[in-house]
Amino acid sequence: MVKQFLMNLLLAFIWIALTGVLAYANFMFGFAIGFFLLWVMNLNESDRRYFTRVPKIISFFLYFLYEMIRANVQVAYDMITPRFFMQPGIVRYPMNARSDFEINLLSTVISLTPGTLILDVSEDRSVLYIHVMYLKDKDRFIQQIKEGFERRLLEIIR
């Protein structure tokens, strides 16, 4: 998988060298072409994780963006309207994520969406404590995160 990614990068750089245009758009274009070529070349290979993962990353990114904007708007509305309708609380969230990298990524993602904020990770790295702004139902919130961010994230990483 790493090999394929490096190969893809190499192809992108060769593309730049060939066209002689050192610009972002050109790099992206080269990368896409490389990706396509590699995808075609590796159709028969057994390890095709690289080619499923890239679209997943993109889709996760888009999901994250959507969540962020949605939540931001929600918070923004609350902020500029005179009355607060939030119900904050600190929630104990048992994770599936285990490695440091996974925990970090998960917490970053959770923190960056408005309304939620990681306060700490337990010493044994099994539990996240999350500050939540709009906590209607604790279990439903945990369910949301589990199904939303954590599942998608672990799919990409593992």
Binding site: L22, A23, Y24, A25, M68, A71, N72, V75, A76, M79, I80, F84, M86, Q87, P88, G89, I90, V91, R92, P94, S107, T108, S111, L112, T113, P114, G115, T116, L117, I118, L119, D120, V121, S122, E123, D124, S126, V127, Y129, H131, M133, L135, K138
Partner: protein
């Protein structure tokens, strides 16, 4: 065309930041302020940087830098928020009266500042 794109990105970004600013001023307790500001500001800053990335497309290095800054902001802001939030909890910063739940209560070891996961208690409860 690009100008309009840049202009609108800027506008959204600036508004996000303004909201963050209003948030930090209006929110009733520390945790809420923290929660609001970290992301709104990151979003706003990110958008403004993105518009810079578009504006300086002619200079690759500048675009790279703008993207790098976005990357850095998103990487560091949650970490900083987590740390200061945690510290605030230690020094007993009060929560808003409307707060409905605190799972952290009693989970910190007073001496070592170790945070328990609460699993032991759960197990005990199950037994």
């Amino acid at each position: 065309m690009t100008t309009i794109l840049i202009g609108s990105l800027c506008t959204i970004g600036a508004i996000a930041i303004l909201i963050a600013a209003i948030g930090i001023l209006r929110m009733p307790d520390f945790y809420l302020r923290l929660s609001v500001t970290v992301k709104a500001a990151t979003l706003g800053g990110g958008l403004l940087l993105l518009s810079a990335a578009f504006f300086f497309t002619g200079e690759v290095a500048v675009t790279t830098k703008a993207l790098a800054i976005i990357f850095f902001l998103t990487l560091t802001a949650p970490v900083a928020a987590h740390l200061i939030g945690r510290a605030a909890y230690f020094i007993g910063t009060e929560q808003w009266k409307g707060t409905i739940r605190d799972d952290l209560a009693g989970k910190y070891d007073k001496e070592t500042h170790e945070l328990s996961s609460g699993n032991e208690e759960n197990r005990k409860n199950q037994d």
